[in-house]
């Protein structure tokens, strides 16, 4: 039986889609059968980040409305044979999502995959609440800055009240993923410290992903960052986070970008 994971945040632009792709790829690399589902109807991005945008025929809305079977809509990743994508529609909007439809699709996916990762849209309305509705666990993506932390807090409140698990009196497993962390800026007081974020959100930490230009490079070439440059700092951090999701105990470290001494010297001379 699969585990349904929702990657959510409240705030937009913090790294939900990037993290969904990176975690999904890391889990697939470890041999798990993974499906990533894009719930951002109308503003889909997961297909771009995975490099599948030219192979989209059917999407989540088609499956919900019965216009296509799930197997027709799922797109297999070309690099990882156990990673699949169910894209969102770009021409429709969130009103096309129905609770019954989403329930049916998730149920069917549970029987076929080890992990179903739902990439939630930003906000707290229908798209976000439906993405989290049937989840067993949640990854709350937060940037270490005040607006993101406040929005994440709101989303955690919704996870504890608007999910099926919460309504049945069960606790939904919650993990916090801090993204775009810049240790220098935190030291200068321009960004919140990890301790501050943990103190406000009181949720177990899944991992700390450092700010890196690798992320933008990866999304421009249509590859999850864990595949594109596997030795980069964010890729290592995401892989550790995926291991923690599977229950392994991995000590939390903040990977520092490996700087090449000669690269820096030459860079300065050229300037």
């Amino acid at each position: 039986m699969a585990k349904v994971l929702v990657v959510t945040s409240g705030k937009g632009g913090v790294g939900k889609t990037t993290s969904t792709a990176a975690l999904g790829a890391a889990l697939a690399q470890a041999g798990q059968k993974v499906a990533v589902v894009d719930f951002d109807v109308g503003l889909r991005n997961l297909d771009l980040v995975l490099g599948a945008e030219r192979r989209v025929v059917f999407d989540l809305i088609n499956v919900i409305q019965g216009g296509a079977k799930l197997s027709q809509a799922l797109i297999r990743d070309k690099r990882l044979e156990t990673l699949w994508l169910l894209p969102a529609s770009q021409t429709r909007d969130k009103d096309a999502l129905t609770e019954v439809g989403v329930a049916t699709v998730i149920k069917e996916m549970r029987s076929k995959f080890d992990w179903v990762i739902c990439d939630s849209p930003a906000g707290i309305e229908r798209g976000a609440t439906l993405a989290m509705r049937f989840a067993d666990a949640a990854v709350i993506v937060t940037n270490p800055e005040v607006s993101s932390v406040r929005d994440s807090d709101r989303i955690i409140g919704l996870l504890d009240s608007k999910t099926e698990k919460a309504e049945n009196g069960e606790r939904i497993e919650k993990h916090m993923l801090i993204t775009r962390y810049d240790a220098q800026r935190a030291k200068r007081g321009e960004m919140l410290n990890i301790e501050d974020v943990l103190d406000i959100l009181t949720t177990p930490l899944l991992g700390i992903i450092p700010e890196s230009q690798e992320v933008l490079r990866a999304s421009n070439v249509g590859s999850p960052v864990t595949l594109c440059n596997a030795t980069s700092a964010p890729a290592r951090a995401y892989r550790d986070a995926a291991r923690r999701l599977r229950g392994e105990t991995v000590p939390i470290t903040i990977p520092v970008a490996q700087q090449r001494l000669f690269g820096r010297l030459f860079g300065q001379r050229a300037a």
Partner: protein, 237 residues
């Protein structure tokens, strides 16, 4: 052969007495203006009336007998269920309307209900719980409304969350949201917290925002209370 049949003990019909505390709404003319005010008030606290017994006191409203039923319907449409009426002559009313009560005691005294001139004191007074304990943090956007008494929170209150209590508020954590104590008209209520980062605090309607608070009382363990209609805050450490 004897058939043994269990004999059911005869249960006698018992009439018991219960006391409840109910809220009283006192409309005034014009009713439409009063309803507009009510909507404005309940807009801020949407579920305030849900599940509560409400008494409609028509003594000051000069409402004619035929206007009462439409008013009750209008209140029902707002989720306000009228349990009983006060301040009208029972003879004027149709039997389908809620009963008229006499001599209700205002809150603060003992909880005996007067029925038809005779006073019945129930030996087991069914008291509603007078304090609410919440474990775990109160997340942003949550609103805790408890007019019956004190609220104790074992955890922090996030910014954007609010606690409205009829009694005192105790936060064993950081108070970063809004805390409004003594909401049902209790000037002796207090607010205690381990770490004062509140957005707004209020006792019996008198409030103080974060900006108005003394800077050296922030981030400290504090209590606040009302003294001669002035909200005072002091450190506890």
């Amino acid at each position: 052969m004897t058939n043994a049949i269990a004999v059911q003990p005869q249960e006698s019909m018992r009439l018991r007495a219960r006391s409840f505390m109910a809220f009283v709404l006192t409309p005034w003319q014009p009713i439409s203006a009063w309803l507009a005010q009510l909507d404005k008030w309940s807009g801020n606290s949407p579920n305030f009336f849900a599940g509560r017994p409400i008494i409609l006191d028509l003594a000051g409203a000069a409402v004619g007998g035929s206007e009462i039923a439409p008013l009750i319907t209008q209140l029902a449409a707002r989720g306000i269920r009228i349990m009983a009426l006060e301040g009208v002559d029972a003879n004027q009313l149709a039997p389908s309307l809620p009963p008229v009560l006499q001599r209700g005691r205002s809150n603060g005294g003992d909880m005996t209900a007067a029925v038809d001139g005779a006073t019945i004191t129930g030996p087991q007074r069914h008291q509603e719980p007078s304090s609410l304990l919440i474990e775990g943090p109160i997340r942003s956007g949550r609103s805790i409304v408890f007019p019956n008494g004190d609220v104790t929170v074992l955890g922090s209150v996030s910014p954007g969350a609010e606690i409205v209590a009829g009694g005192s508020i105790h936060v064993y954590g950081a108070l970063r949201g809004r805390a409004m104590a003594g909401s049902a008209g209790n000037p002796r209520a207090r607010i205690f917290c381990n770490k004062n980062e509140a957005e707004l605090i209020s006792v019996d309607g008198y409030y103080c925002t974060a900006e108005q608070m003394d800077a050296n009382l922030r981030n400290r363990s504090t209590q606040c209370w009302l003294e001669d209609c002035v909200l005072s805050i002091a450190a506890l450490d």
